[in-house]
């Protein structure tokens, strides 16, 4: 890699702090011994506006660089993104497409989506177009993940209700709240529909009615008869729906004729239909 400065203008351009003049329509080859002189503050201050105006163009010995890359290459050689190399050169068995050290690092760490589909991005910047998340990271290790709620509709979210021990005519707890869900229900941040349920407990051959309440009103009843575990996705239309801020509680109603559930779990699956950006809450009146 060489460092060459071209002057595409019709006028000679002096760079006083380097003690040189670059002739009109000419160029200046920077001796390696002078590379470090170009990072002196006075030189940077003098050259930057000239490069910004494209009155001088930096060339790396292979091609002319754009303004930003040219400034980095010439004035900020310690930046990873500034260190250029002949990209057609093999490094081991790797031939990089990018022409900077940072670009090569990014190419060395490709990211792959869970479904194996190609990712049009790098370690530094990824745009998961159409998926739930956009991810941006940096070589330095900083990673930020931002959730794009506009892509949530259609996604399935789940929340779990549990109770420890024999459960008969009893409210289940939401998550691990250690409080019954009639007082500490699940609060939905999205709108959507109930599309699936699963049931599991520690005892064979159990009976119960799983009663799902929304804001204190019965939303749906699922009858469990003679089962240790069960699932349900054939929830009749119109499927029970949730709105943003709705509160969900689960009650196990006693049904005779079989064992009582012991330490049951209800996993509820909702399909998001709307995810408006909002914030809400209330002081009293849970269900």
């Amino acid at each position: 890699m060489a460092k060459i400065i071209k002057n595409p203008t019709e006028f000679a351009i002096p760079i006083k702090n380097m003690g040189i003049t670059i002739p009109a329509n000419g160029q200046y080859y920077i001796e390696p011994a002078e590379y470090r002189l170009w990072v002196e503050l006075a030189v940077v201050s003098e050259v930057t506006p000239i490069l910004n105006a494209a009155s001088l163009v930096v060339n790396d010995g292979i091609e002319d660089l754009n303004v930003v890359d040219g400034k980095n290459f010439l004035l900020y050689p310690d930046f990873a993104k500034s260190q250029r190399f002949e990209h057609t050169t093999f490094v081991g068995d790797k031939q990089f497409t990018k022409k900077t050290t940072q670009g090569a690092i990014e190419e060395s760490f490709p990211l792959i989506k869970k479904d194996g589909s190609p990712v049009d991005g790098t370690v530094r910047e990824i745009d998961f177009t159409g998926s739930a998340f956009s991810v941006t990271s940096a070589v330095a290790g900083k990673v930020t993940i931002s959730q794009d709620v506009t892509t949530l509709p259609g996604k399935i979210i789940n929340f779990v209700f549990v109770n420890v021990g024999t459960t008969s005519n009893k409210w289940l707890e939401y998550g691990s709240s250690s409080a019954s869900s009639d007082t500490t229900p699940y609060v939905s941040p999205f709108g959507g529909s109930l599309v699936g349920l699963t049931y599991m407990n520690k005892t064979d051959d159990t009976n119960t009615d799983v009663k799902i309440y929304k804001n204190g009103s019965l939303l749906f009843t699922w009858e469990i008869r003679g089962k240790r575990w069960a699932y349900k996705t054939n929830i009749s239309a119109p499927q029970p729906s949730l709105n943003q801020g709705d509160k969900i509680s689960v009650f196990f109603k006693k049904v005779n004729g079989a064992s009582k559930p012991n330490t049951p779990t209800i996993d509820m699956l909702f399909q998001v239909s709307s995810a408006p950006l909002a914030e809400g809450g209330g002081q009293t009146g849970v269900v």
Partner: protein, 142 residues
């Protein structure tokens, strides 16, 4: 039998010339690479138009300029003084090197060139180009 009275002046003269040559390299400027017109030679790593070599003697006069380059080059050397950062930049003399690897200039070439006291001396290639040029500048004073 050695005649001391006859030999002593010769020895003094001989020693004096050698010491003058070896111990007074002058102010040396240089720059690496193919140095083209308009480029200032460096004072160590600093362009001499930014910081030149300080000259503080009184009654200064330019005595000699030696020029050298790697190739057989044709170029002009401009000798200047200034007060730092090109302030008061003033041309003292210009030397023309024509197809030479080294050249020598003295008072017969550039005449009497007074050099002010408390200034900085700078050198640049003012025409042509030279490969890895060097310039030594001798200025007398008191």
């Amino acid at each position: 039998m050695i005649k001391l009275c006859d030999d002593i002046p010769l020895i003094e003269q001989l020693i004096g010339n050698k010491l003058a040559t070896s111990a007074n390299p002058g102010f040396v400027f240089g720059r690496g690479g193919n140095v083209t017109s308009g480029s200032w030679l460096l004072n160590n790593d600093v362009p001499s138009n930014i910081t030149g070599i300080p000259f503080g003697l009184l009654g200064g006069n330019l005595l000699q300029v030696w020029a050298a380059s790697q190739n057989v080059d044709t170029y002009d050397i401009g000798l200047y003084w200034h007060l730092g950062d090109e302030i008061g930049l003033t041309l003292l003399a210009t030397m023309n090197i024509v197809a030479e690897r080294q050249d020598f200039f003295g008072i017969p070439d550039f005449g009497t060139v007074p050099v002010p006291s408390n200034v900085q001396i700078a050198v640049r290639i003012s025409n042509g180009a030279a490969k890895n040029p060097k310039a030594s500048v001798f200025i007398g004073g008191a």
